[in-house]
């Protein structure tokens, strides 16, 4: 998730903006050790799920390869120890997911209704509009952008680093719901209230 998030964040920023961004200083070795441990733990969970063998040979192979990948990809997986190391953010983020799933389901039903409606052309009103978000962190912005895209009726076209979102919305109802509760919940999950 983090690798994808970072890749997308980089993709959004033109070169001129990423040059002026301040470099996040490292917050000591304890923090970066913690983020290594997180990366290793996630990779190892993946290894165990995908291999499904619990004998010593396979587990030690997993430990070795996960350690190697953690070391190789230290710049890629958790380059920002401040956000990656905080367990509180992870727990609040996991609590955000069920709400997002519920929203996705409701909005799916709405688009389904539009698709099968005989007078669909009268109901929809596609438009591209801008909205200003107060979120600041990279990860919060990417989460917001992906949540907007996942919620049917709206697609994020472009995100700039200062929080301006360009969004394509299918109809009036999806447009009105936007800079609302979702942003508040993400701000809460990432501690940016």
């Amino acid at each position: 998730m983090k690798a994808q998030a970072q890749g997308k964040a980089i993709h959004h920023e033109p070169a001129r903006e990423s040059d002026s961004r301040p470099v996040v200083p490292s917050h000591g070795t304890a923090r970066s050790l913690l983020s290594y441990a997180m990366a290793f733990f996630i990779l190892f969970c993946l290894w165990v799920i995908l291999s499904g063998k619990f004998d010593l040979f396979h587990l030690s192979l997993g430990v070795i390869s996960c350690l190697m990948v953690t070391l190789f990809s230290k710049d890629l997986l958790f380059p920002e120890p401040r956000t990656a190391g905080s367990f509180a953010i992870w727990i609040r983020f996991i609590r955000y997911i069920p709400w997002l799933l519920y929203q996705i389901f409701m909005a799916n039903l709405h688009v389904l209704y539009l698709v099968f409606h005989p007078k669909m052309m009268d109901l929809i009103d596609p438009q591209i509009f801008r909205l200003q978000s107060s979120l600041k962190g990279d990860l919060a912005l990417v989460t917001f952008a992906n949540s907007i895209t996942l919620t049917p009726g709206t697609i994020t076209v472009y995100v700039s680093i200062d929080g301006t979102f360009t969004v394509h919305a299918l109809d009036k109802q999806s447009r009105e719901g936007l800079p609302g509760e979702m942003e508040r919940r993400i701000a809460k999950a990432f501690g940016e209230e």
Binding site: V111, I128, P152, G153
Partner: protein, 105 residues
């Protein structure tokens, strides 16, 4: 249990059908991406959850692992689908394609 599984799979199939019909019915490139990307994601979620439940009929370690793998598929679809949609929309904007809007506005 079987009733839940069948119900979830049928809901997923309705979502997939809606996605396909939506691609055909919507007026332009951007609005076609809405059903293409998202009804598919919803349908995939429902069908995968149904498969994971069906798989847990005979509860053992190996079926539990298979269930986790199926859930992993859902997680990756949920990560990659918005990214792919964003990439396609971005390509459209860069190529200079304007969105379809209502004439009477």
């Amino acid at each position: 249990m079987d009733v839940i599984v069948v119900f979830l799979i049928i809901c997923g199939l309705i979502f997939f059908t809606g996605g396909a019909v939506g691609i055909l019915r919507f007026p332009d490139f951007y609005s076609r991406l809405h059903p293409a990307g998202k009804l598919d994601t919803g349908g995939a979620l429902l069908i995968m959850v149904a498969l994971a439940l069906f798989n847990l009929h005979h509860f053992s370690l190996s079926t539990l692992l298979t269930g986790f793998k199926i859930i992993l598929i859902v997680v990756f679809v949920f990560l990659s689908s918005p990214t792919a949609i964003h990439g396609i929309v971005d390509a459209g904007v860069r190529a200079g394609l304007g969105p379809w809007t209502k004439k009477n506005d």
